[in-house]
């Protein structure tokens, strides 16, 4: 299964696969309806890829993601909810790498982690 890709004029995600597993690096802004649709489809593919590779963990680097509005952020909540509702053997850990200098990350990532404290780590 090939790695998923996300490239829109305002938002892109670089996906790499290394010894530590999959890493998704989000870059740009996620605020339009088009970005939300693209993000939804991308995260569904990302989840499928992680499951197909039986990943133990997935890193999500939000560092270069300057802005995400609440509608787009809902897609990450949905992703996390989907993973957390699976049997434990089919779950994988999500490590969100944050940039504390970015306001939205300071305000939102902690709350995201509370959805599945056993699955989420904010680095």
């Amino acid at each position: 299964m090939s790695l998923p890709s996300l490239t829109t004029p305002e938002l892109k995600c670089t996906v790499t696969e290394g010894p530590e597993g999959l890493t998704f690096i989000f870059d740009g802004r996620a605020e339009s309806v088009a970005a939300r649709e693209a993000l939804r489809s991308f995260l569904a593919s990302a989840d499928q890829t992680a499951r197909a590779r039986k990943a133990a963990q997935v890193k999500v680097d939000f560092g270069p993601l300057i802005f995400i509005n609440s509608s787009c952020f809902k897609e990450f909540v949905l992703w996390l909810t989907t993973v957390s509702q699976r049997p434990v053997a089919e779950q994988y850990r999500l490590i969100f790498m944050a940039n504390p200098g970015v306001r939205w990350q300071r305000a939102s990532l902690h709350s995201l982690a509370t959805f599945a404290t056993n699955l989420v780590e904010i680095a």
Binding site: F67, S70, S71, K74, R103, A107, S111, T114, T117
Partner: protein
């Protein structure tokens, strides 16, 4: 944009009539082309008739006098009927040779512009009752033309022999007279038949136009009428829907608290939704020894998120009224349980609410719980703002959030301000996609902190609107000043 919208609406209703008119114009255009081709046939026939008459005259003259100029005139006169014959044979072939037909009609003195129409008419209607009789007469006439050509060749040979073959010349002159006698009525018939064909064609086209008009215009009117009725129905439905949305917006505005002077607190707030119905909410409710203050934001905006905000406010009112002594964390968990049940289980929606609930006390203590934007506290003692993170979780996605809803406390000194706001304030972006941000918000508050709280709210909105004239999200701000009554003066 409004003009384009009106044109679209008009076209949406009238397009069947426009289509009918266009179809009629197409039929009229085709009719005009056909009639033009018919007229070209009539002209061509006159050239054909004149050519054969002149050819007989000049050949007879040549037979009598032997003048080569008469023979040349005969050949020239015969050229037009021979060209028409060439074209007819080219078009009558199972595999019509259009180039040959064009050359033939040009030789037959048909105008260049009319040739394609004449060819088309022959191919489309050559076998029909309109054209078949004319073409039959034309074919018979061409047989005489061919014979006349042969007679001319024979006559030239007889005239060129030495001595002149007078007997052969006599025989051929007699033959010319026979041809002339037989061809003359045929030519008249050909001419009359073509005139009749023209009349029949004209009548047929009139009938076609009449039928097309009788079908297309009523059909267009009927369809346009249907579209108009549907459009009117949609307009009525839209009006109804708009009224309902307006009512929802009024309900949402109506349930916002009338803030002002509370014991120990001056409060001012404003919410401006991006859509008619917003996804932001706030509330202020008196409680024993203080009050409840809440602010929240449902992801997105519009009618569905507006409904969730109203649910949130209703649940808040129920919880705080029924359990006035409970802490904010317990109240937030209870509100979450209601939202999870309504939004997640019943509505099957993935909406979530960022929400923080504060319980203020008259002694300046503020307990709070939930997850929302950072709280801003302006300290009178320093004249600066402090920001406080809210370390809870969002409402809606999970049934039980007790474990992730801590309760925290801060303390206000007399004169301190506490500012609550939604992301529409700090995420308002200018043309360069630069957010208004928390720092600018703090700067506005610090600049206006000693003014009445309603003026501080007005200043925040003024600066946000100036920063981002185009509003994309609901914007809410609530400012409260802790202002305990002055202690009574000691009695001497």
């Amino acid at each position: 944009m409004r003009f384009i919208g009106n044109v679209r609406h008009l076209l949406g209703i009238t397009w069947p009539l426009v289509a009918a008119v266009l179809c009629l114009m197409l039929v009229a255009s085709i009719s005009a082309d056909i009639m033009s081709a018919v007229r070209a046939y009539l002209t061509g026939e006159s050239h054909w008739s004149k050519g054969q008459k002149d050819a007989i005259f000049h050949l007879t003259e040549y037979a009598r006098r032997g003048d080569p100029r008469s023979y040349a005139a005969f050949e020239k006169a015969l050229s037009a009927p021979l060209g028409d014959r060439l074209a007819r044979l080219a078009l009558s072939s199972p595999h019509p040779d259009l180039a040959e037909a064009r050359r033939g009609f040009a030789q037959g003195l048909v105008k260049e512009d009319d040739i394609d129409g004449v060819i088309a008419l022959f191919r489309w209607f050559g076998d029909s009752y309109l054209m078949a009789p004319s073409i039959s007469l034309w074919t018979r006439g061409d047989a005489y033309i061919a014979e006349l050509q042969e007679v001319g060749i024979g006559l030239r040979a007889a005239r060129s022999s030495t001595p002149v073959d007078a007997a052969e010349v006599e025989r051929l002159v007699a033959r010319i007279e026979t041809i002339n006698t037989e061809l003359t009525p045929l030519t008249v018939d050909f001419s009359e038949e073509l005139a009749r064909a023209a009349k029949r064609t004209q009548s047929l086209l009139l009938v076609v136009m009449l039928i097309a008009t009788l079908i297309l215009v009523p059909a267009g009117l009927w369809l346009a009428g249907r579209f108009m009725v549907r459009s009117q129905r949609l307009a009525i439905e839209n009006d109804g829907l708009k009224r309902e949305v307006d009512i929802a917006a009024k309900i949402q505005s109506a349930i916002l608290p009338n803030v002002g002077r509370l014991p120990h607190l001056d409060v001012a707030a404003r919410m401006v939704p991006a859509a008619t119905v917003g996804g932001d909410c706030y509330d202020v409710q008196p409680a024993p020894d203080g009050c409840w203050i809440a602010i929240g934001d449902v992801a997105g905006h519009g009618l569905s998120t507006g409904l969730v905000t109203m649910m949130t406010q209703s649940a808040l009112a129920t919880v705080t009224h029924s359990s006035p002594q409970s802490g904010p964390a317990a109240a937030v968990c209870a509100i979450n349980a209601v939202l999870y049940d309504n939004v997640r289980l019943r509505m099957k929606s993935d909406d979530h609410v960022t929400f923080v609930l504060l319980r203020t006390f008259n002694d300046g203590r503020v307990l709070y719980a939930g997850a929302h934007e950072e709280l801003v506290v302006w300290r009178q003692s320093t004249g600066r703002c402090e920001t406080v993170l809210t370390r809870g979780t969002w409402l809606g996605p999970r049934a039980d959030i007790t474990a992730t809803t801590p309760e925290a406390q801060l303390t206000l000194a007399p004169g301190d301000l506490l500012v609550l706001y939604t992301d529409g304030v700090v995420e308002a972006s200018n043309a360069h996609k630069v957010e208004f941000g928390l720092e600018r918000l703090c700067a506005v508050i610090e600049a206006h902190a000693r003014e009445p709280v309603s003026d501080i709210v007005a200043s925040v909105f003024e600066r946000v609107n100036a920063w981002a004239p185009q509003q994309h999200d609901d914007v809410t701000a609530l400012v409260m000043r802790y202002q305990p009554p002055a202690a009574p003066a000691a009695v001497a």
